[in-house]
Symmetry: C2
Subunit: 270 residues, 2 copies
């Protein structure tokens, strides 16, 4: 089974003018890849109804799953769902379930449900709201033809928790089953800057793997590194053996550089 295609649309002028770096898109890109999707576009779109509708429509023609982030808030320039609705010729309608969510968020804080706030409960007809455990704006799930359009807020903590809690369980059913292996290797005595070029080379040889080093001690005096290897493959044994080969290469490079291995483990998740 081929990996289904995913497109990511990041909505917001602040991204286009470079005021913030698009870390949401790279986080989603990694998640979707590990969940079995082929991410083919990340598109940053201005806060403009026409542009959002254009890009949502194009994405839906090309991708099985479209994830949008940003533009769900209460202000006039938050117009993602209006753009999604326009893309498919749908109306925005007050969703009773979404209204409850928004109402609960504000009433629990002793705040009134103003018109601006209620705006967040209007979803394209036929959508399902996604609860927001962190902030006020619900997300939105909409199936159009063979495409699932998922709209999430732009605040990273809200986006991430909603994606993990509510979106991943749904989209994992769309992708072929993959086995994700995560390994950790604790190395003492090698500074991150010393091993970084080798990790880059190893990563380049293994395009399916994510290799990340997390410094845990003092970089030069008492360097301790937690090196994580993460990869997803359809075959369980192959996923495990590939991860172990990578870990083996890192281990041998670390000892050449004078490091000692403190701990090593691999876990497999399906």
């Amino acid at each position: 089974m081929q990996r289904p295609v995913a497109w990511i649309l990041s909505i917001g002028n602040e991204l286009l003018i470079g005021r913030i770096v698009n870390t949401n898109a790279s986080w989603l890109g990694e998640k979707l890849t590990l969940d079995g999707f082929l991410v083919r576009r990340i598109i940053t779109v201005p806060d403009s109804l026409e542009d959002i509708a254009e890009e949502v429509r194009r994405a839906a023609e090309r991708a099985r799953v479209v994830i949008t982030t940003g533009g769900l808030g209460p202000t006039y320039d938050d117009m993602t769902l209006q753009g999604v609705a326009r893309a498919f010729g749908l109306k925005l309608v007050l969703n009773p379930e979404a209204k409850k969510m928004v109402d609960k968020f504000y009433s629990s804080r002793g705040l009134p449900l103003t018109e601006e706030r209620l705006k967040m409960a209007y979803l394209p007809e036929g959508s399902k709201p996604i609860p927001n455990p962190v902030g006020a704006a619900p997300g939105c799930l909409l199936e159009v033809g063979d495409t699932l359009v998922v709209s999430l807020p732009g605040v990273p903590s809200e986006m991430k928790s909603m994606f993990e809690q509510y979106v991943e369980p749904v989209i994992k059913k769309i992708a072929p089953p993959l086995y994700t292996v995560e390994c950790s290797l604790i190395i003492k005595g090698v500074p991150e800057s010393g091993i970084a070029p080798y990790l880059k080379t190893i990563a380049k040889k293994n395009p399916a793997a994510y290799i990340k080093s997390h410094p845990k001690g003092h970089e030069l005096e008492k360097p301790v590194l937690d090196i994580r290897v993460l990869l997803s493959l359809p075959d369980k044994e192959q996923a495990l053996s590939t991860a172990r080969t990578i870990i083996g290469e890192i281990r041998s490079k670390a000892s050449t550089l004078g490091g000692t291995i403190e701990r090593e483990y691999c876990v497999i998740k399906s």
Copy 2:
């Protein structure tokens, strides 16, 4: 005069799978905005000839300036210029000037000019090469109809120095003349985390301004912050007065929080 439109195309699978964060695009987004352009899209495109050609063609139909980053290197998956050529039905031809650049880079390091390396000197017909003061791959400037397509390497240090040295002088002639004001405010006694929410609010009120804080001392024991305000406007006086108003708001917030102002200045560049 209206701001001309710019699109940014970031090319590379490593961005789509989230292995790296697209800091190039935000750096360019800020530069282009301050240079007088309206950045309307940032599109991350896979290392695929068809996809690159499709997005370059679409960008050229919509933007006055298109900047691509990545995919200029010597390996088989570096195919940006091939994609640019295909977008406009042009041939890739060995550019004598680009050949000299690549040759000089390798011969000064005692390395031979292999076929893979020579590949970097093939540009779409009618292009001009952009010298690369840091690495091997030249960039490429191509005028097609009313659009300027600029291709730069993906390595941030190469991309940035080429953009500043060779691209900005060219594209600044396309944009209306703007005055850029940069102000700096050194504040003692306020930790960055204390003033951050206020800076965010002030930035939101002033969409044309970039407000950044750089901690210079110890965050909690001896906090020293260098707060920079950067903005570009067509009117010199207005640029200066807007920047001073913002600086004034930050200064008064800082003293409310118990901080003292160590230094303050604004410079104006055209």
